[in-house]
Amino acid sequence: MSFTSRRVRSVAAAALTVGLALGMGACSAKKDNAGSDGSTGGPVTISLSYFGTPGFTQAVKDFEAANPNIKVDIKNEGQTKDFVPKLAQQLSAGSGASDVVMLEEGMLLQYLKDNKPFANLLDLGASSLESEYLPFKWKNAFTADGKKLVGLGTDVGPLAMCYRSDLFQQAGLPTDRDAVSKLWPTWDDYVKQGEVFKSKNLKATWLDSATSVMQPYIMQNSDTWFYDKSDKYIGDTNPVVKKAYDLGLDMASKGLTSKLARWSTDWDAAFKNAAFATVPCPPWYTGVIKERAGDAAKGKWDIATIPGGGGNWGGSYLAIPEQSKNKKAAFELIKFLTGKQGGIDAFKEAGPLPSSQSALADPQIAGATNDYFNNAPVGKIYVDAAKTLKPIYLGPKHQALWENAFEPAMQAAEQGKLTAQAGWDKAIKDSKALAEG
């Protein structure tokens, strides 16, 4: 026994020593490129933080080939909701943020207000680039006084309406995309067609969720949403918000919606099970559908124009934190990624529609078709839609107000947990409290 214990002990001691040494050694293998500064003349390494799937891989390779003195360290930060808090911490701590960070529209809006942590791109030479970008996208990244440009736009999300032609056929509706577009010039028409569809008693519903109509309807009919242009909360008095809410819940009460929470597993599965026939879809959404509906549904989805025409959902920006030590190189990178070549690379890799006008004009985008969507001319549909986009003022906390206060209350009403009126009252109360924070 004593022999055993002694042996065990010496092994333990050795293991402890080795383990701790290994641990401390291995663990101190730090990120190697934190503060390389550009003045030494050697190659500079800059970091780029992104979330989701912007399709930067090829674009960054092309950038490095064109700029042999700049190396890019790409950091995948997961989802928006993962990155938002992390970036906020890094910016407030004054270190740790990447040289280039991707900002989703909602994040950008917040940082237009608290813009101190970001560099003014006008000082880095952005002023000459205005004509490159879709005007609304360019304009949206300025602070209220118009003196500071915080980001350059990567992509835009003009809306179309994706539909399942097999379900349309079963319901006796036209299936050709032009004929389908003609079915619903307005939202009233869209609801009427939904009732026709419903009367055929198919297993599927017309739309995934009542909340899906908010974005397009408000964007088409107003240039404000929760905030007026002086950042005052107007969600309770903006008539368009209430109209959109009523439109959605009216469809729910008529049994036209699946009452699914978007981005839930059931919602994912509903694509595969053909549980609804239509869904508003920006360009990046085609990938969302394809992922979820799978190979079995290939060719069954198609794309028509959206009722009411226009509206934008999503789209991101690239910005440079003030704490970056390599702002010049960082600016070169965002110029490239948001420019023609970067836009085309990203579109081919992951499908987002660039906000660079020269990229949009390129046949590789304008002429693109999508074989998953029955060879729909997605390039033409979305580029046309992008050109009609008009700016809407969303205000600093729009994303949080929508996702964390308004949408849940609206879902509760759609699911019958609250009456339509109680849902509205809660949506307004919660979003107002959040806005006044």
Binding site: T4, S5, R6, V8, R9, V11, A12, A15, L16, V18, G19, L20, L22, G23, M24, A26, C27, S28, A29, K30, K31, A34, S49, G52, T53, D73, K75, N76, E77, G78, Q79, D82, P85, K86, Q89, Q90, A93, S95, G96, D268, A269, K272, N273, E291, R292, G294
Partner: protein
């Protein structure tokens, strides 16, 4: 895994039948498991392993398996190709995740076991002023929720420039109140005062007593603590997720990237990742589970 060394008595014979002098016939009816007991336990185990088995089954099939009703109960043939897809996924960095998790869990386990046995022994068997108060402090430390400390801890990591390094997930966790408390509870009953006194009488210093007498006696509890610490560290989610990014992930961070990011709907990749994240723990568990349970038994007999 070297961390488990103290628990592995390589030359120890199989547990001898206990209490040979017992009157077997009188106790047999009381202590033999009835068929009902077996049935209850088997049901419990089925319930316990089903979700794990199911994730391995899905991981060996394709995406349709997730929502198939009724669920598939036999494995398919795609596990290795799925695993390859996960390991080659450059966003999730799964290989680094596995290596990093092994390093982190190994360092933390060694340190927690060492410091816990040291302090646990002191609290159980040594006399010093302020012992009561200090032990109370240790119990209180167990009540501090991780969430309470996340913000300041993150700011501290930024100050030290430790974000996105493995120190950030190792150093704050080198000691654990639970470990000290657990070892102290065990040592109270497992180590007799006479043993300590005898060592003292032989002229052994406190350190030597700890190293030669106490540590071997604490092996079973230290093994349990080690295993629990290893698993807890391996499985920790919130803090690594706050302080690390996809470049220096632990395996849970990799898993999160798979489960919530672009691959979210590629359930097979998610489930394969889940299965791969469990495999190393399964190996540790199967290799050392017997010692752990043996350790628990040994401790109980001594009490």
């Amino acid at each position: 895994m070297s961390t488990m060394t103290p628990t592995k008595p390589a030359t120890r014979p199989a547990p001898a039948p206990k209490r040979p002098g017992r009157v077997r016939s009188a106790s047999a009816a009381l202590w033999d498991a009835s068929p009902l007991t077996y049935l209850a336990l088997i049901l419990t185990i089925v319930l316990s392993i089903f979700p794990i088995v199911w994730s391995f089954i899905v991981a060996s099939r394709d995406n349709s398996a997730v929502t198939d009703i009724p669920p598939p109960l036999t494995p398919g043939g795609n596990f290795f190709s799925n695993a390859q897809r996960v390991l080659e996924n450059t966003d999730a960095n799964f290989v680094y995740g596995l290596i990093n998790s092994a390093i982190v869990a190994g360092c933390v386990t060694l340190s927690v076991v060492f410091f816990s046995t040291l302090a646990g022994f002191a609290f159980a068997k040594l006399k010093f002023r302020g012992k009561n108060a200090l032990l109370l402090v240790i119990i209180m430390t167990m009540m501090i929720p991780t969430q309470v400390n996340i913000i300041p801890l993150y700011l501290l990591m930024v100050k030290l420039d430790w974000t996105n390094t493995l120190q950030a997930v190792i150093v704050p966790f080198l000691v654990k109140g639970f470990g000290v408390f657990m070892i102290r509870q065990y040592a109270e009953s497992a180590i007799s005062d006479e043993l300590i006194e005898a060592a003292r009488v032989d002229g052994a210093s406190t350190w030597r007593t700890y190293w030669s007498v106490v540590l071997p006696a604490l092996r079973p509890a230290a093994a349990v603590l080690g295993l629990l610490t290893f698993m807890e560290t391996w499985n920790d989610f919130l803090w690594p997720y706050v302080v690390l990014n996809g470049d220096t992930p632990t395996v849970q961070v990799s898993l999160n990237i798979l489960a919530t990011g672009y691959y979210k709907t590629d359930y097979v990749q998610v489930f394969t990742g889940t299965a791969l994240a469990i495999v190393p723990l399964l190996i540790v568990f199967i290799a050392f589970g017997r010692q752990i349970i043996g350790g628990i038994m040994e401790g109980s007999v001594k009490a």
